[in-house]
């Protein structure tokens, strides 16, 4: 009788342990920081001199969507990393260093025009807005720091957002099929199509 009770206890403890491990994994796997605000971006205007030195012209908060900067430029780029105060990266990406113009294949005086590099003196970036963001570090292709921006040095005036987003065609991270059917049904349809094609 005692043996059965002991076995039951052991089983209960095992189940509790498994539940505890699952709960811990779930807590740890959950992002520690909330996602960026989908409707606000940090707008950074940079000056680039002829020697390639960068400086901040302006930094403010604006109501806009940020691109993802995930295009994998092979060269002629700067890398950007945004991190919180403990150094944990929140966002990273690449952006073009120069304006490289590739002309249309049209003959001018019997010759096709080759590409050319036009000066890109001012570079404007729209970065995702994380409330916890502390630093923006811009590196060159070799990974050397070009510019470090401490976001707290700038006053980010809060944007009073009155725009109605549902119905603009974009299924935002704070929208779903129930809260905004018109915007999110396209994503749902594409996912269903994707699963059927698998």
């Amino acid at each position: 009788m005692n043996k059965i009770l002991a076995n039951k206890k052991r089983l209960l403890l095992s189940l509790l342990s498994i539940a505890l491990v699952i709960a811990l994994v779930k807590i740890l796997a959950k992002p520690l920081l909330p996602p960026p605000n989908p409707h606000l971006s940090i707008q950074v205007s940079l000056n680039q001199d002829q020697a390639g030195n960068l400086s901040v012209k302006n930094l403010n908060l604006t109501e806009a969507y940020a691109p993802d900067y995930k295009l994998n430029l092979p060269n002629g780029f700067y890398e950007i990393v945004m991190s919180e105060k403990l150094g944990m990266p929140l966002f990273s990406g690449k952006f073009a260093r120069d304006l490289v113009l590739m002309p249309y294949p049209k003959m001018i005086n019997g010759q096709y025009l080759p590409p050319e590099i036009l000066p890109l003196g001012e570079i404007t970036l729209l970065l995702p807005y994380y409330r916890e963001a502390e630093l923006i570090i811009i590196k060159d292709e070799q990974g050397s720091d070009k510019l470090t921006i401490n976001i707290s040095d700038f006053s980010l005036n809060p944007v009073e957002s009155y725009t109605k987003y549902c119905g603009n065609g974009i299924c935002d991270t704070d929208e779903n099929i129930l809260s905004c059917y018109s915007d999110c049904r396209i994503i749902l349809e594409s996912q269903i199509k994707h699963w059927f094609n698998k």
């Binding site: 995930k70 295009l71 092979p74 120069d98 113009l101 249309y104 080759p114 292709e141 018109s182 994707h194």
Partner: protein, 393 residues
């Protein structure tokens, strides 16, 4: 009487001398691939080879089945800037191209834009080229050559979105967080439907290339339906003035739809042009929609041109950190049929052919969409696309 005969002969000879002659050229039709939708657009590319001649004017005829297609327009390729069409009879049109400076070589002569009106699903050949007076006889297609064939789906899919939506989802392959979101902007359009039709035609051009589905499925296509924004700008370099797009305006507009890159279509009748800013965006005129895959090859995949600039790569480019594009090689191989060392063992069917934009570089295939003439990417260019989009799913 003798004077009269002499005058008549002289008049005849003068007529022969001054009558503009449409000179000889070879034309080839490129077939679209995939399945098409009733009510949707379909575009056919006519390629030209002047066979060494320098032509100021060229013409060909095209016949199509009027029960399957409605002819809408013809747009110029990259060889003859002015292209016009005239109806010969029902289902038969003559396409004439002119180039004031003359053109020699091969490339895209024109693009025929149709709407599919076929009532029943099925498969049918629907367009062929024929000789028109003043051009040499078109050779019959070699055995096994695929003529443009229409493969229709039973019914059109539902419209993806509401045309009144600011960010119109033209073709969505998945969540915006994991896809490259490419947005089309309307440059000087008055009509939304016309613009969206051109966007669909542009996407068709890209999807008609040999880019693998795995690459194409990484892209979402959007259209900004606000026609009031002016994107036009002019190149401010020391070269000739030409239309480009305003990248700062495009950046602001892009952020209205959470897009990652953009392309502007300018509605400027009779003007064929386009520009790409590497890694930033591109623009084309409405008459040059067939160039969309080429321009996106620059702006998204960082590919170089493969046609001849007539000059070597400047050391300044290399000094500024711009290595040669993935579809061009600095090193040559033992023979033109052997892959350049850069691509050896990676691809089959590639060589090492002199000139890849610059005269001191080498390309992998004779023709490609980054050159002129055909609408497929060569293996290194496809690899360039894959590498550029490697962070997308």
């Amino acid at each position: 009487m003798g004077r009269l005969i002499f005058s008549a002969i002289l008049f005849y000879l003068l007529t022969l001398f001054f009558t503009p002659q449409v000179q000889a050229a070879k034309f080839r039709l490129s077939a679209p691939s995939g399945t098409l939708q009733r009510g949707g657009p379909v575009s056919l590319i006519i390629n030209i080879d002047t066979e060494g001649g320098n032509l100021a004017e060229a013409a060909t005829g095209a016949s199509y089945d009027p029960s399957l297609l409605r002819f809408n327009s013809v747009t110029a390729g990259n060889t003859f800037p002015q292209v016009s069409s005239s109806v010969i009879s029902e289902g038969k049109i003559k396409i004439t191209g002119t180039n004031a400076q003359g053109f020699s070589g091969n490339g895209i002569f024109a693009t025929l834009n149709f709407t599919i009106i076929a009532q029943s699903p099925g498969s049918a050949q629907f367009c062929t080229l024929f000789d028109v007076p003043g051009t040499i006889e078109q050779p019959p297609p070699p055995p096994g050559t695929a003529l443009p064939t229409l493969n229709l789906l039973p019914s059109p899919p539902p419209d993806p979105g509401d045309i009144s939506t600011l960010c119109y989802p033209v073709k969505i392959n998945g969540d915006q967080n994991s896809k490259l979101d490419l947005i089309f902007f309307a440059g000087r359009y008055q009509n939304k439907e016309e613009f969206l039709n051109d966007v669909r035609t542009s996407i068709n051009f890209l999807e008609a290339t040999n880019l693998p589905k795995a690459v194409l499925n990484k892209i979402n296509y959007w259209a900004l339906t606000d026609l009031s924004v002016d994107f036009i700008d002019y190149e401010r370099s020391n070269r000739m003035k030409r239309i480009v797009y305003n990248k700062d305006v495009a950046a602001v507009q892009k952020s209205r739809c959470r897009a990652d890159t953009s392309i502007v279509i300018f509605n400027l009748p009779g003007y064929s042009d386009g520009t790409a800013f590497r890694g930033i965006g591109s623009c084309v005129t409405r008459s040059a929609l067939s160039a969309v895959p080429h321009e996106l090859g620059h702006s998204i995949a960082f590919l170089g041109d493969e046609y001849n600039y007539g000059s070597p790569l400047s050391t300044d480019w290399v000094a500024r950190g711009y290595n040669v594009s993935y579809n061009c090689s600095q090193e040559k191989s033992q023979s033109q049929t052997e892959a350049c060392p850069k691509w050896a063992g990676l691809f089959t069917g590639v060589g090492c052919i002199p000139v890849c934009g610059y005269t001191n570089l080498f390309r992998s295939t004779q023709e490609s969409i980054m050159n002129v003439g055909i609408r497929d990417y060569n293996p290194p260019s496809i690899r360039g696309w894959e590498m550029a989009l490697q962070n997308y799913e």
